[in-house]
Amino acid sequence: VKPPAGEEHLARLYFGTDFCQTLLPTPRALRAALEARGGSEAGFTLVTPPVNDDGLARIAALLDVLVHDPARTRAEVVVNDWGALRLVARAGGRPRPVLGRLMTRFLRDPRLAPPAPSQGETAADTAPASSAYGRLLASMGVEHVEVDSGRPGIPVDFARLGLRPSVHVGWASVSRGRVCLYAGLAQPDLAKFTSSTRCRRECRTYEAAVADADANASTRAPLVAAGNAIFERHDEALVEQALACASRHGGRVVLRERAFSETAWALADLPRARRWLDTELPS
């Protein structure tokens, strides 16, 4: 996925993954990504996963790189962990923390029916909800929240929370665990499927389309098993839902080439984003 040609300055580079601590970049890789952004004015977003204390120390080292980057005022860190949020919040807004996709909970079960068009995007419940929660996030410098466009809708009351959305387009994360299907590939059975299984980053080599083996299953939603997560591939309706959500709430859309890619681009100019998606959204 590339940013809109000639308009790279309007885009924001996402680097990192929401899902797996093993894939946290090294400080050196982060510096390389910052340099790859080149002299453009593109914003930079480091994406981080849920972490244990070892992972949090690694995030701290990455934060140190970002804090000393000349473009730190436009830098963000997506956090999918309350500890990581505290860590980033201590940096005082440079870079800014963004609440990650795993932190904003609502159902994205591909077996559920989408809401009727008349029900709008908040057809189901709205979560998370309270103003007090919004104030808590604000006190930690959170202004943006990442969401997936999934079924049934994007039921987040952004206004109540005082947040703007970054809506991911292409895939919606459905489920994620510490135990990875792929990590055990090269391991004996006894070493497979633990949260401490050492992997060879097999997720960089393989992914799988998955379907219910039951021919009479109620859903035939296109699902992908990538890394330690399952994703639903967006159909046109879910893409439109994402664009509508970003438009209504002053947000942006985030597009990555594959569900588990470590780089992505985001665009807040939605007319441009629509044209961009038409050319870049993987078929």
């Binding site: 309270s130 055990g184 499927f193 083996a213």
Partner: protein, 342 residues
Amino acid sequence: VSAARPLRIASPISVAEEIDGLATAGANELYCGVLPRAWVDRHGPTVWLNRRGPDKANLRSFGELERLVARAHQRGLAVRVTLNSPYYDERQLADAVVVAKAIQATGADGVIVGDPALVLALRDDDVPLDVTLSSMAAVHNVEACRFFVDLGVRRIVLPRYVTLDEIRTLRQGLPDVELEVFILNDGCVYEEAHCATTHTEGAFCMTDWRYDFARLDGEALGADEAHGLARNVEAHKRWIWYVTNCGGTYTERGIPNGPCGLCAIAELADLGVDCLKIVGREAHPFRKRRSVEMVRAIVDRVNDGGSADEARAASREIRETPEHCDAGFMCYFRTAPEARNP
């Protein structure tokens, strides 16, 4: 083994009549859920007040809860009540606070909460209940725990698949916080807190998936690669069978098969874990009682000075299924050999 604090055993319960059996079996604490009719009327049967549905797992009224609490207290058992949905919407959140106040009025000792917005609401409303953080909050590091401790949480249930090394680090960083870990039954294929599916549609992770693998570089899979991937899927399906209680089976003597951390109890005691959680509020009373007996047998052995090796041997003996123990897939605290000896 030098446990700083005696290990406690938290047992699930769904009706007051189970109390005597669970107390006799050796439980120190009970946890339960309540699903008042008013909640179902207002939010419908598919919006759960806690992590279990409206069938067998929950008490039906605060009156029932009050009787359960009184009887439990007579037996010296504390009672915590689950309010551990992953999130509540605006209306549900307000109602959950009302429910929490009603729980407090029954004399219950605390609530188990997973939604940070509810933790915050209980604090802001001065609801005088001890708050235990549910595994639904998915905290794996000291900073994350501190986030919730600052909001008033006093005990933290660590998520499934936390490792012994991680517990050690958490305990060192959180000397003033009670830590609880899963010890028996009901695993989860994914991180429960990071699963956006609903069990009202059946367990998504138990779907019999058909995998169609591809290389990301566009090259065709080689025969060896395809074979290795297929073999890995077979192993993964075996692991899921263990995680989901070995298909709900029991041994001939009625020992429930399924996820188990008995072997690690001596180490957990040594690490300063405070409480061992048995899962399964909805289970048959016999399974709950048997589960408590199993955990109690090992905890007593450890408290009596038994070594970690002795505790492990006793655990295998109690389980009666050495073939399942040897498979490794049933263990809550299995550490990958490479990680143990890098």
